[in-house]
Symmetry: C2
Subunit: 234 residues, 2 copies
Amino acid sequence: MTGKSFSSVWLREPRKAGGPGRSREEIVKAAVELLDEEGLQGLSMRKLGAKLSAGATSVYWYVANKDELLELAYDEVWRMMTVPDPEEVGWRDSAAALAHSMRRVILRYPWAADLIGRMPALGPNAMRVANGMRKMFDLAGFRGLDIDFANSTLTAYVFGMTIPEVAWNATMGDLDDYDADKTREMVRKAAADYPDMLKRIDMGSYEDPAYMRELCFDFGLVSLLDGLERRLTT
Amino acid sequence: MTGKSFSSVWLREPRKAGGPGRSREEIVKAAVELLDEEGLQGLSMRKLGAKLSAGATSVYWYVANKDELLELAYDEVWRMMTVPDPEEVGWRDSAAALAHSMRRVILRYPWAADLIGRMPALGPNAMRVANGMRKMFDLAGFRGLDIDFANSTLTAYVFGMTIPEVAWNATMGDLDDYDADKTREMVRKAAADYPDMLKRIDMGSYEDPAYMRELCFDFGLVSLLDGLERRLTT
DNA sequence: AATCCACTCGCACACCGTACGAGGATTGTC
DNA sequence: GACAATCCTCGTACGGTGTGCGAGTGGATT
């Protein structure tokens, strides 16, 4: 009894496109639009079919199941991420720029946050980024497994920082001042046992949250790059 | 027009428990068991009702919706995370131990990986951990906002590293040798354009994956702590 | 005895992913 | 032209999902 095996759109031959039917690009484009408009919850095969002026199950000719469709859409997100050439700007600036690029892309495609880490990233665009990162850390001076470790470390940080940011935007981002105050008052109640956290909550309410999160991101990013740099010199 | 407002189980009064009905603890316990056995997909309100020998919708008396139930279960995961006393072992060891504790807990409750970052963590156990971390970084010498930044940075790293690990275990963890080889062969095809990545794939296949991921986690963790330490001395 | 209230639960609704198989449309071959 | 093969569409149906609603039950209080 073999368990449910690993599978991915990228690991099988697509149908030979011969006839005059719809194309995979067309479908993925419609899917991404739907995801942008209505989020991950808002994408259903029926709605996608309707958007393509097609029947509900027509998409299944091009895609084995919904997960494959999401994999295709997911790779479109990776397409938007750019790895600067480390030979021109040096590995540190290159890494920082990549990190910011990744963060920006995810904030622009919030639905991708729910896919990261859940979905294999084996599409051509994800591969391109991964290879660019490898090259970057190789040029920095990492060797062997350390290249992959540095790779994983940086992406783990960026994703780990940005995914909750997306969730925050989704739930708290569009409250008016009144609701925001009310919510903060309730959060204070949840933290009632911890005076230090209360002080922090009240302090944070006077700052622009978006700017604060950017400060936080940079703080962690600089720390991480410092730590990686240290591995090179000793 | 106010958008859908923020809400959480922890930010409202629970029903006054008066009568002889089931208790919230009982329900959460059953939910966690179901999650352990069948994963996040496997938890449905109907199955939970059945497990409690109750009707399908009885749980809705104690919980407003499924998300609230998941919030309750999620906080049980935070209960398992321990923050060592930084006054005894120093902040660095304390932070490292906490990071390993978080990773271990998530690997033990894989269903929690899908909740992290999607769900607010405002339960008492999450609060306890957050406060412990604040104390830890305060003792380390961080001040003001830097405490929260260090906090976010560490958790972002741990979660960002561990969530994909859980996904990997779920899909690739229980393949036999034959299927694993077949899968690796297909992954090689996906990376065909990038010779460096091919070499890496072949290299990795001779090592124990679990041990490699632990090495990777420690690599990033040490780097991150180095980077944070540097912020203290300059 | 009457009233209240915590609590249970069957039914129904609107949705979901997708298996299946009958058809239509287009192409290639004689 | 005819015929077959292939590509592609889609209506129907099945078994699930979360959950709103309102009738019902049983113990405690008045």
